[in-house]
């Protein structure tokens, strides 16, 4: 296990978007094989799945042939764990906006530490390394979590803590449990940090509904031009308001008094926490040195060619406490190129293109109701 830890540390020490694709492929493949071997020994069911895979992972020549797990399997309760109960430090849960049951992933100390390092490595490539005042557009409770459990919002907020010199949360819950903006606190923060480099984070729909809309309604501009605004969580909950990304960026920039280029959308999922995908200046997403993205053709499950779209698989060497290394997601993405994005980042460049529709049995077979039989 120490050998695996060392290899993961090595992957985390590489500049995240600097490796030529072939070199990265080789290092990921070797490390992921080691991780699979270890995981199979720790979890009989997972070992059975890997053993049932049509290709023996030990002889696989590309990451795309390794056994990946559909992300829906992480909804299991109790969660699938590769570590003993006493080693679990934290359980993360997804926001479960598209299904009733959330995903649950268990983190031991090494995995938790690596997750933080992963996010830091990626984010500093986009916003630099300095610590700065950190404005969290969420509640203190969301940020902290409770009982060793942390939701998707809390995990994202905490992931950016290493960039914070001071953290301020500006949302509260009212007596009905609704999120409410604390304008006084927000304006105090803004007044105190005029001209200073600051960091803002919020879930996409929360930023829109609980910051942009109330400030626009009161015609307030915070005059924080030296800001980097990161947001994640997806656009699904803004669908009914038909908010375009460009409108979102423009209006957010308007209330902060900054350029729309200061707004960075990133994709991240609790199931693969530690690997996030911010938009580069070209509007594309990239995979870091310690992970990858494979976009699979639904007809063959082979990786698609550049210019095509398919189902997204996210790969990460970071987790060793749960099966999050090779996850087939329920998202669809379009691959622009396998290398050579004008932004200079190496490896795949892609854009998300929505969700895989919910699977429904066609015609016959959708048999929820048990039929009585009269003899």
């Amino acid at each position: 296990m120490q050998q695996i830890d060392d290899k993961i540390d090595l992957a985390l020490s590489v500049a995240p978007y600097s490796q030529p694709p072939e070199e990265k492929q080789a290092s990921l493949l070797g490390l992921m094989k080691d991780e699979l071997e270890s995981a199979c020994q720790r979890h009989a069911g997972y070992g059975n799945y890997v053993q049932g895979w049509p290709v023996d992972f030990r002889s696989a020549t590309r990451v795309a042939d390794l056994p990946y797990l559909p992300v829906g399997l992480l909804k299991a309760d109790p969660p699938i764990s590769f570590v003993a109960a006493e080693e679990i430090k934290k359980t993360l849960t997804s926001s479960a906006t598209t299904s009733q049951s959330p995903s649950r992933v268990v983190l031991d100390s090494p995995t938790s530490r690596r997750m933080t390092r992963g996010v830091v490595n990626i984010v500093r490539d986009f916003i630099g390394t300095s610590r700065r005042p950190y404005l969290v557009v969420d509640t203190l409770d969301s940020m902290r979590g409770g009982n060793n459990a942390l939701g998707a919002r809390g995990a994202a907020i905490q992931g950016l803590n290493p960039f914070a010199s001071q953290t301020v949360c500006v949302l509260n819950l009212n007596e009905h449990g609704d999120l409410v903006l604390d304008k006084t606190k927000l304006l105090e923060f803004a007044n105190a940090h005029q001209g200073v480099e600051i960091l803002v984070y919020g879930f996409t729909f929360i930023l829109w509904n609980h910051l942009v809309k109330p400030l626009l309604a009161d015609n307030i501009c915070l005059n924080l031009s030296n800001v980097r605004i990161l947001h994640s969580g997806g656009w699904k909950r803004l669908q009914d308001q038909a908010v375009e990304k460009s409108t979102f960026n423009e209006q957010l920039a308007r209330v902060f008094g900054c350029s729309p280029e200061c707004v960075v959308d990133f994709y991240g999922m609790v199931e693969s926490v530690g690997v996030i995908f911010p938009d580069c200046p070209e509007g594309n997403k990239h995979a870091p040195a310690f992970g990858d993205v494979i976009v699979r053709d639904p007809l063959t499950l082979e990786p698609v060619a550049a210019g095509e779209q398919g189902i997204v698989q996210v790969c990460s060497v970071l987790p060793t406490s749960f099966p999050g290394n090779l996850l087939l997601t329920e998202d669809v993405a379009h691959v622009l190129a396998y290398d050579g994005c004008p932004c200079g980042r190496r490896g795949i460049s892609f854009r998300f293109a929505g969700r895989v529709p919910k699977a429904e049995l066609r015609g016959c077979g959708n048999l929820d109701v048990k039929r009585s039989v009269s003899n």
Partner: protein, 423 residues
């Protein structure tokens, strides 16, 4: 309003008035030119020949449709359902009375979208009873149904049959058009999943409309130990099973989702599984999938992983792609069907135990039994458990009435009884 023309071809419909007008024309066609089952079969025969065309070979179920339309297939069905005299439009003696089938009138068809030839099959049942047919063609089936109906127009130059067919295409959500259809029909044949069937049945049909519902069902297969463990027969049973899975992409009510193997204490099922894998591989080579919905791919991947993770004693065989999947385990609990050529193979100590757990949701039991006495007992039990069709493996989709426990032609006719006044 444009008056629809009764060409037999699929036409887009925009307004309820178009449907009402089409129904009125259909009614006129029946009244002015009655057709006997024999007249209909003559046209069907030549239609079957027209369908024997290379460009139609890719349509799932086309081979079956050609067979279905032959006089040799249909005559015994009509004789059994309507009486021997019905073939030529005559009366059939029944004790001291005589019986004759008369059409209900206009029969509406709401086929499901999961079986490509279903709009045609449903329609033929009504036409054989002398009815006219008003068919709503699901959006995904418009092109291929149109192609099949073009061949009918070529086989029916006098338009005796096509004049009594109106095939409408309109959006599933157009409640007003569904209602117009319902109000216009004397009989209805409704096929599909639970939601679709309930929705159609809630339409404002006239009180006299005869409704035949073919709702959601699933099917299973079973093999006794002597049958599957016989080395001479293993390959053949596996081939039959694979064919039943492949037809209609395992989405039909009659598609097997689970096969129960009676445990053989003398040998493991490993060699059977090897043959089954080969049969699936061969079938996949012969009939590869051309497209797939991303949702189905996800569901297949999910099923594979869930099965193997759930229990270390579970096994599975599948290729890297989503083409097919065999999930092997034991026990008689019914797993949730996945479709997409995903077959659960479950070893059980006793087939009776497995069949006794089925309910009326299971339509067809495909059997491979070496022991006839055991088969008869199993068939009795299956009937008691609500299963409507018990057939040999390899013939699970053979469209022969009764289907879902009911006849296919008789529900859409009136059986008129004549007792002579001279008696």
């Amino acid at each position: 309003m444009s008056t629809p023309s009764l060409t037999g071809l699929v036409q887009p419909v925009q307004s309820p008035a178009e449907i009402s007008a089409a129904a009125a024309e259909l009614r006129q066609a029946i009244a002015t030119d009655p057709l006997s089952p024999s007249d209909v079969m003559t046209i069907f025969e030549s239609w079957a020949k027209e369908l024997d065309a290379r460009e139609l070979d890719e349509i799932p179920g086309i081979v079956f449709l050609r067979m279905w339309l032959r006089r040799g297939t249909l005559e015994p069905i009509i004789a059994r359902e309507l009486g021997a005299g019905a073939l030529s439009g005559g009366w059939t003696e029944s004790g001291r009375a005589r019986l004759r089938a008369f059409p209900l009138g206009v029969v509406g068809h709401w086929p499901a979208a999961n079986v490509e030839i279903q709009p045609i099959l449903s329609m033929t049942c009504a036409l054989l009873g002398g009815n006219a047919a008003l068919v709503r063609v699901p959006r995904g089936l418009v092109d291929l149904t149109h192609a099949l109906m073009e061949r009918l127009t070529q086989s029916d130059p006098s338009e005796r049959l096509t004049r009594r067919i109106f095939m409408a295409s309109f959006d599933h959500n157009r409640r007003d058009l569904h209602e117009a259809m319902a109000k216009s029909v004397d009989g209805a044949m409704i096929w599909g999943g639970q939601d679709a069937v309930l929705e159609v049945r809630s339409l404002p049909f006239p009180h006299w409309t005869r409704i035949a519902t073919f709702g959601p069902r699933m099917s299973v297969a079973a093999l006794d130990a002597t049958a599957w463990s016989n080395p001479d027969d293993q390959k053949t049973w596996c081939l039959r099973l694979a064919r039943d899975v492949w037809q209609f992409d395992q989405q039909a009510c009659s598609s097997p989702q689970i096969v129960f193997l009676e445990r053989d204490p003398q040998q493991s099922a490993a060699s059977f599984m090897t043959h089954l894998q080969q049969a699936f591989e061969n079938e996949n080579r012969a009939h590869p999938r051309r497209t797939i919905a991303s949702a189905l791919t996800s569901a297949i991947c999910q099923a594979r992983a869930a099965w193997l993770l759930k229990d270390s004693s579970h096994a599975a065989v599948f290729p890297l792609g989503p083409d097919w999947t065999l999930l092997f385990g034991s026990g008689s609990e019914l797993p949730q069907p996945v479709q997409g050529k995903t077959l659960f193979v479950l070893e059980v100590d006793n087939l009776h135990e497995a069949i006794s757990k089925l309910d009326g949701n299971v339509q067809t039991l495909g059997l491979g039994m070496a022991d006839a006495e055991k088969e008869n007992k199993l068939a009795m039990l299956a009937g008691q458990r609500g299963i409507d069709r018990i057939v040999k493996l390899g013939r699970m989709h053979t469209f022969v009435p009764p289907w879902d426990g009911v006849d296919l032609i008789r529900p859409m006719v009136r059986m008129v009884r004549h007792v002579s006044s001279a008696e």
